[in-house]
């Protein structure tokens, strides 16, 4: 056991935790928000820690179990709050933010408990980690100042802790005077240097800055970098370009040379292969030739057709690309996220094409809430779980279709409050009527999340093959049979097909179908590799062949790996164009499925949380149904917690009684183990570096039953260290087990309790 930490060390520990809390608050504050609110929160947290520190100083010493429980609880609260927020509002908190808050609570709690030197040291360590992690995320000069303050406090803390460590040596020539004066002098010098640098002549500051290594230029480039030699490609200042990052509502309606989804697909997958048509010239007689005086009609089918036979793109490695902001969208919200922009219904073996616009009866209605929101009157279904909220900022994408997640429920686009601005791009997909979405527009969405259990419970009516369904070739049919053999119809079959495609085929962007391919599904079934649009095409064709309505959806995929922790959004670039499949369920909703390995659908976390809530409600219902039994159980649980030490002691004593039949040496060792357990139960456990006699021996003269303990210690030494033929030490030598029984009877837990000020510091 060790003595209490001096006041100076404790105060410095609390100050370090407060600075770390400040840095964390700055790091997790929303960009652009006034710092007054987070700083007020810091003040409240710090005041709570100081109050807890004072309370522990008066009442809580020695209650290490209570302190540990409080620490664990306070550390878990931010994670629980984040989970509850997802469940109730659909808005997620970044995991690192929740973890930073957990660590902040832990650091403050440990600092509050820094009467114990171990807790104080852990608090300093946690604060150091917290301040470094937060400073790496936070922006602006405030984080740098906080880091500097922490460095100074850390230096003071190290000096004071070292001085405290010297305490055992005082009296052997070590200096007795506190190092406070030296510390103050050292920090005054450092402060003077900083002050001269900050307010002194410019030349001095420049000269000092020249002593530090600069970032220089390297071949490393981070597209999300801010500051330094050059900003990243995706990070462009708003003053220079309206396609800046951040989710500020903007009125800048500028037309730029932005790529459409069609252009992005051509860039990433190559242009569609056009089959070479052999034409034969036939001479016509002059009377049959009619002179045409107007220009022939142009075929404007862009974005109305998607070819599954493409040329692929040969990229030349090593050549620097044109440096510009490449992000098409920025997503604020949980990822992975599929953002559908076009859906295709008809398939001829090579090309997908959009069907005529369906007769959509679902209404878009304005909704009363903060800002002009619109709600889509889609049917409710048990296949849907929780709600996910996102904000999507249009950057370089030229699209009329609203970039939104599947199963859209409500949306808001800037301050647009007229419903006639919007129409349907496809069933379930909103588009602006007659124009594309301006750059810098922020689209806020609320979408439903599919519930796997609900989907599995749906009844799919038997359906004849769709008019658009094409018969599969032999290889594709055989593959489909292998994947769905023994699977019941319904959603289980959909899952079997998706699972089979992900398992049996490999994604390969270069494995495109040949130009003369007439059935890409059959080609893919034979090759078992290809880009994502071949996966999606095969999946849709197989689902249709199994009797499900399925369509191909093209759009963008917000990958979790691109998440930028500093701006807290996920940029979506040209490389993120993606193709997947949506399956129609009986109520008319289109449920996305992902057949391509490497791409994931959002996890069912909201639904899982809803399940937990349902389980909780069910449990509450059961409790309400059996009040007596539950109250008895609760009382028993409370008693078990309250009397856990007594219970552990009683159980161990029972086990000890049952084990006393062996040789006397083993019985003595078991007796010592029992008494050691009793000491542990009253927080007086023997440190590993202390011997039995050095730890328990001082207790013996203090009690009238000291002789029993002294006899047991002698017997323990004999059992542990004496040769086998040595006699047991007197006076207990004649009957060691009887001496053990006497010691167990006499030395209950309370006798091992030591006053906190009388702990041995060491040997």
């Amino acid at each position: 056991m060790t003595a209490e930490e001096p006041l100076g060390v404790r105060a410095t520990t609390l100050a370090m935790a407060a600075v770390a809390t400040t840095t964390t608050a700055l790091a997790i504050a929303e960009p652009g928000v006034s710092p007054a609110r987070p700083l007020a929160a810091v003040a409240a947290w710090t005041a709570a820690a100081i109050a807890a520190h004072a309370w522990i100083g008066r009442h809580g010493k020695g209650r290490s179990a209570t302190t540990a429980a409080l620490l664990a609880t306070s550390s878990l609260v931010p994670v629980a709050v984040a989970a509850a927020r997802v469940a109730w509002t659909g808005r997620a908190t970044p995991l690192e933010q929740a973890l930073l808050c957990s660590l902040r609570n832990l650091a403050l709690g440990l600092a509050a408990a820094s009467h114990e030197p171990a807790a104080g040291r852990l608090a300093a360590l946690a604060s150091l980690f917290l301040v470094l992690a937060s400073a790496s995320i936070a922006d602006g000069p405030a984080a740098a100042w906080a880091l500097g303050a922490f460095a100074i406090l850390g230096g003071v803390w190290l000096a004071l802790a070292y001085w405290r460590g010297l305490r055992p040596m005082r009296g052997e020539g070590a200096p007795r005077r506190s190092p406070a004066g030296h510390l103050a002098g050292a920090f005054a010098l450092v402060g003077l240097a900083v002050a001269v640098t900050a307010v002194g002549p410019t030349r001095a500051a420049v000269a000092l800055a020249g002593l530090f290594p600069s970032s220089g230029g390297t071949d490393w480039n981070d597209p999300d970098a801010r500051g330094g030699v050059g900003d990243g490609d995706d990070e462009v200042k708003g003053a220079e370009n309206p396609q800046s990052i951040g989710f500020a509502d903007s009125d800048a309606y500028l037309d730029t040379d932005r790529p459409s989804l069609y252009d992005a697909f051509n860039d990433m997958y190559g242009e569609p292969s056009k089959p070479k048509k052999s034409e034969r010239m036939v001479a016509l007689s002059n009377p049959n030739v009619v002179e045409q005086r107007e220009r022939p009609a142009e075929n404007l089918r862009a974005n109305r057709q998607f070819s599954a036979v493409r040329r692929g793109v040969a990229r030349r490695p090593g050549r620097p690309a044109h440096r510009e902001a490449e992000a098409l969208l920025y997503v604020d919200g949980p990822t992975p996220l599929h953002i559908g922009l076009a859906a295709y219904d008809r398939f001829d073996g090579r090309d997908w094409s959009e069907a005529a616009r369906p007769n959509i009866r679902v209404a878009i209605e304005p909704e009363r809430r903060a800002g002009p929101w619109f709600r889509i009157g889609a049917p409710d279904s048990r296949a849907l779980g929780g709600v996910a909220a996102h904000r999507i900022k249009v950057a370089a994408l030229d699209s009329a279709a609203l970039p939104a997640p599947p199963l859209l429920r409500a949306f808001r686009m800037g301050e647009v409050d007229r419903v006639d601005f919007f129409g349907w791009a496809a069933d379930g997909m909103i588009a602006m009527e007659g124009r594309t979405i301006p750059s810098s527009t922020v689209v806020e969405t609320e979408s439903a999340a599919p519930d796997p259990d609900g989907l599995a419970s749906l009844d799919f009516p038997p359906r004849v093959l769709d008019a658009d369904a094409r018969p599969l070739g032999p290889a594709a049919s055989a593959w489909l049979d292998a994947m769905t053999r023994g699977t019941p119809p319904g959603w289980a079959r959909v899952e079997a097909i998706v699972r089979g495609l992900r398992r049996d085929a490999a994604p390969d962007p270069k494995a495109v179908a040949p130009d003369d391919c007439g059935d890409v599904v059959e080609h893919f079934a034979a090759a078992r590799r290809g880009p994502d649009y071949l996966f999606a095409t095969a999946c849709a064709a197989m689902l249709r062949s199994s009797g499900h309505s399925a369509r191909l959806v093209t759009g963008l995929y917000a990958a979790p790996s691109r998440y930028d922790a500093k701006t807290r959004h996920t940029p979506v670039r040209r490389e993120d164009v993606h193709t997947w499949v949506e399956v129609r369920i009986p109520c008319g909703l289109w449920i996305p499925v992902e057949p391509t390995p490497g791409y994931e659908l959002p996890g069912p976390s909201p639904a899982a949380l809803a399940g937990i809530w349902a389980a909780f409600r069910s449990a509450a219902g059961r409790v309400a149904g059996r009040p007596v039994a539950c109250a008895t159980l609760a009382a028993l649980a409370l008693l078990a917690v309250r009397f856990r030490r007594e219970a552990a002691d009683a159980l161990a004593t029972l086990a000890w009684r049952a084990s006393l039949r062996g040789p006397s040496r083993r019985g003595v060792i078991r007796t010592v183990a029992l008494l050691e357990l009793r000491a542990r139960l009253v927080d007086a456990a023997r440190p590993p570096g202390e011997s039995l006699r050095s730890w328990y021996g001082p207790l013996a003269p203090a009690a009238d039953v000291g002789r029993d303990l002294e006899s047991l210690l002698a017997l323990a030494e004999w059992s542990l260290y004496a040769p086998p033929d040595a006699d047991a030490p007197s006076p207990a030598g004649s009957d060691p087990i009887a001496a053990c029984r006497r010691a167990v009877r006499a030395w209950k837990r309370a006798r091992f309790r030591r006053p906190s000020g009388n702990m041995k510091e060491s040997t």
Partner: protein
């Protein structure tokens, strides 16, 4: 265990009973000579029974010579004293050959190392050459003069002293020589009551009237006690504990030179002697811990003033075997 407890510990068996009486006699003789220093006496006895040599680092006038003389008288051996100075020659310690005109032969005149108990006062004032002559005597219990090897007394025991304050004109003992000593002790000032009793006893005490004390041990008895100490059982768990402690000294950040294997052997023998003095036939971890300070103090090269902290760290870092 306190000194009184050890003194009262009942030996185990008839042989140990007899040994206990002998040890009790030695203990009372030394305690009579050195008042109020029972702990120091116990460690001196342990050092004697472990066949080690003793380095006393203390101020003048604290009873070093008295202790050495009392010890020599108690074990029934000859006592010799060497006052080490820079002009002391190796031959002054080991002895030398002189020409005898009567016999017309060189005759060997043995030096003080041929005594049973040798007090080398202020050993750090002797030159390294003289120190190394003493080193051979301490380590191998023999002296080589003019290429002729002379065996020393079987119970040869060295008590060397050095003054910790006045370092001017001294030759600090090298680590190799320090490692030959079993322990380093400080006697320290006696307590107030002991000093008063000492003054009271000195009134009327005339040096010439004092009877030479009777030897406590008979001839060869010391060696048999030392053999009994060597046979004291050390359990495997305690041996492992010792090894772990030795290794902990080598890895401690404030220790420049850790414990040598020879030091580990001496530590074990000191722990055996401690157990023997307590009347036990086996060593416990407490015996190891009790002699850790003086045993490590003489041979660990630690930063000045950090010896106690190192000892605390080392003992706290190695779990005591208790299962």
């Amino acid at each position: 265990m306190t000194a009184s407890a050890m003194a009262n510990a009942s030996p185990n068996g008839a042989a140990v009973d007899e040994a206990g009486e002998a040890v009790a006699g030695l203990r009372s003789a030394l305690n009579a000579a050195l008042r109020g220093k029972a702990d120091v006496v116990e460690l001196v006895l342990a050092c004697l029974l472990a066949r080690g040599h003793l380095l006393l680092e203390d101020m003048p006038g604290l009873g070093k010579t008295t202790l050495a003389k009392a010890l020599a008288a108690a074990v029934g051996g000859r006592f010799a004293r060497v006052q080490c100075t820079p002009d002391l020659l190796p031959g002054d310690v080991t002895g030398f050959r002189v020409y005898d005109p009567k016999t017309r032969e060189f005759e060997f005149l043995p030096g003080p190392v041929f005594a049973d108990v040798l007090l080398a006062d202020e050993i750090n004032r002797a030159t390294p050459r003289t120190q190394s002559a003493l080193l051979e005597a301490m380590a191998e219990r023999q002296a080589t003069v003019d290429s002729v090897r002379h065996k020393l007394s079987d119970g040869f025991f060295v008590i060397a002293t050095q003054n910790p304050v006045d370092q001017h004109g001294t030759y600090p003992l090298p680590e190799a020589q320090l490692d030959r000593f079993a322990v380093k002790l400080s006697i320290g000032y006696p307590g107030r009551d002991d000093e008063r009793a000492m003054l009271e006893a000195a009134v009327g005490d005339v040096e010439d009237d004092r009877e030479p004390p009777e030897p406590t041990l008979g001839p060869g008895r010391l060696r048999s006690l030392q053999d009994a100490v060597a046979r004291t059982t050390v359990a495997p768990t305690v041996r492992d504990y010792l090894v772990d402690l030795g290794r902990a000294t080598r890895s401690h950040r404030q220790v420049a030179l850790g414990l040598s294997p020879r030091g580990l052997l001496i530590w074990q023998r000191m722990a055996q002697a401690r157990a023997f003095l307590a009347g036990r036939g086996y060593v416990t971890p407490d015996d190891v811990r009790d002699v850790a300070g003086p045993t490590l103090d003489v041979r660990l090269d630690v930063e000045p003033g950090a010896a106690r902290r190192v000892l605390v760290d080392v003992l706290a870092s190695v779990p005591v075997p208790a299962r």
